[in-house]
Amino acid sequence: MNPYIALLISFALCAIVAGIMCGASWLLGPKVENKAKSEIFETGNPPLGSIRGIRFPVKFYLTAILFVVFDIEVVFMYPWAVVFRRLGWMGLGEMAVFVAVLAVGLAYVWRVGALEWD
């Protein structure tokens, strides 16, 4: 079997997952229409037309950044898990240190209120 099949499957999965995410938020998200909201904000000028696509509250910025930070942590754990047995206790200890450092970061993020939506 062609080894690149796996890559192709991975691409397809990415497309499906992303499609489900965007589609679900479009289908399930609450839609409250009013005039001010449906108008497009263009630096204070009167709107010139419509835009297509999904718009996000700006608060997602912080959520997205935090997601990236903690997501990378998990990404790093995958290769570690693959060679876990060969790394032995030393590897376990190193991962514990890594997670502990991230836990300090999480505690910081929590205490400064970055996890609160409002």
């Binding site: 790394l87 032995g88 030393m90 590897g91 190193e94 300090v104 505690a107 910081y108 205490r111 400064v112």
Partner: protein, 483 residues
């Protein structure tokens, strides 16, 4: 298959780092969990424990010829010296911070842990014996420094400084990685010893391309002309205690990283890179000094003067000898005391809402605050290179190393540059002593910690000017031991 090794040598190498990083994390947690912010000086004490602990661990554990983690990191003489210089710079910036941050209205609790984290990055750079470790150190240091530059969030200039520093720094990182990749492609390794061994057989074109990219990236970090354009704006815009850290600590770490890479790993190519760095050094010191003459803002003048000093340091790297490396290390120590002292004086003149950073604001300072004016005279004379202060000794040994390596013209240009620099350093002394105060005399007592910082800087500037032997011999021997 690379085995995970963590034995005595590894533990020895990371202990100073661990002390600093763990203190940074404790300090971060303390800052966010502690609700009582009545005493702005309290977080300083905690951070200072980390600084002093780092210095003690370094002094206790270093040994020449030491190497750990498959030879990628070391706590040898050179990195021990760098650790002490960078931790001194960080400690002195911490001392000047609390009163100053309160007066400009910065209540960011992250300042103290970030300074410690930046210092830990500098320590990684000092001990790096592998390009990847060097890259790691640069990034740990820089990311903390980007945030520190913008820590005065309501100030537009501080934000500008942070953004400029970040964008150009990220750009320089690209050059660094590309250079590392090309050098790896040419020599098959990122370790300094392996690179030096593989250079004679490697493709010359590839190697030179990689080295050129590394010069660009490291030139940015040491603010060498023509990669210096960010420096004046960033130094002026960042809060002064951060500027002191950047001008001294970051510069020291970057220069040591530069020196170790070029004097150790690229030693077989000395003929090729020496000419490039020669021009870099000459341009850096000349442009830095000539532009500094035209400045009216003291902080900006110090920024250009710091560019000029980067030129002096690069000149000694051109020599490519252990003697040059030793002179560089000693000069970094000298520069730490005198330059941090100068920034501490700049801070002590600031008032709530007004920075008082113009030359005119220094008019008649001698009659208003004689002690602070006297300290500033000391730092300015030392930066000019007047005996018996530490700046003179440092410059003397830089020039000695350059001449000994046969670069007579470089030495001549450096001496001429020192003469130019006398103009703007002495101009500040003239303002303080020969002119009448412009505004009403505002007497405000500097914070006790700031006085401690000024005192340490003064003592260092005088003491190591008169007794330079111990650190100088140490610096030379540790570079000799690298070969």
């Amino acid at each position: 298959m690379i085995e995970v090794v963590f034995g005595g040598a590894e533990l020895r190498a990371v202990t100073p780092l661990l002390v600093v990083v763990v203190t940074a994390m404790i300090s971060l947690l303390y800052e966010v969990f502690n609700e009582d912010h009545s005493d702005p000086a309290r977080p300083v004490w905690l951070s200072l424990v980390g600084i002093v602990g780092g210095i003690v661990a370094t002094v206790a554990l270093w040994e020449n010829g030491h190497s750990a983690f498959h030879g990628t990191f070391a706590l040898d003489g050179v990195s021990a010296f760098t650790n002490v210089v960078c931790l001194l710079a960080a400690g002195l910036s911490l001392l000047m911070a609390p009163g100053y941050l309160t007066s400009i209205g910065v209540r960011a609790r992250e300042f103290y842990p970030l300074v410690l984290l930046a210092a830990s990055g500098m320590m990684v750079m000092g001990g790096a014996r592998d390009l990847i470790v060097l890259f790691l150190g640069i990034e740990i240091m820089s990311i903390a420094a980007y945030v520190l530059a913008g820590i005065h969030r309501t100030d537009v200039k501080s934000g500008e400084a942070a953004l400029k520093y970040f964008l150009l720094g990220a750009f320089a990182t690209g050059f660094l990685l590309y250079g590392i990749a090309i050098l790896y492609g040419a020599t098959g390794s990122t370790g300094y010893d392996a690179i030096a061994a593989a250079l004679p057989k490697a493709s010359k074109l590839l190697v030179l391309g990689g080295v050129a990219l590394l010069i660009v990236a490291l030139g940015f970090k040491v603010s060498a002309v023509p990669f210096h354009f960010w420096a004046p704006d960033v130094y002026q815009g960042a809060p002064t205690s951060v500027t002191a850290l950047m001008a001294v600590g970051i510069k020291a770490a970057a220069v040591v990283g530069f020196a170790r890479l070029f004097i150790v790993a690229l030693a077989p190519l000395h003929q090729d890179w020496a000419m490039v760095v020669w021009w870099l050094a000459v341009l850096t010191m000349t442009v830095g000094n000539v532009t500094a003459v035209a400045q009216n803002n003291v902080k900006r003048m110090l920024a250009y003067s710091s560019i000029a000093h980067a030129g002096y340091l690069l000149a000694a790297i051109v020599a490519g000898t252990p003697r040059g490396g030793g002179a560089v290390l000693f000069y970094l120590l000298a520069y730490t005391f005198m330059n941090v002292g100068a920034f501490a004086v700049v801070i002590s003149l600031g008032r709530k809402g007004e920075a008082n950073e113009q030359f005119d604001d220094y008019a008649g300072l001698a009659s208003r605050q004689p002690l602070i004016a006297a300290a500033m005279v000391l730092f300015m004379l030392s930066l000019t290179g007047i005996p018996p202060l530490v700046g003179f000794v440092g410059k003397l040994y830089l020039i000695e190393a350059i001449v000994q390596a046969g670069y007579i013209w470089l030495a001549v240009i450096m001496v001429l540059n020192s003469a130019i620099s006398a103009y703007y350093y002495l101009r500040l002394i003239f303002e303080m002593y020969m002119r009448d105060p412009a505004g009403p005399a505002s007497a405000m007592e500097p914070a006790p910690l700031l006085i401690a910082c000024l005192l340490l800087a003064t003592v260092g500037t005088i003491f190591f000017g008169i007794f330079p032997d111990a650190p100088l011999d140490f610096a030379r021997n540790s570079f000799l031991a690298l070969r």
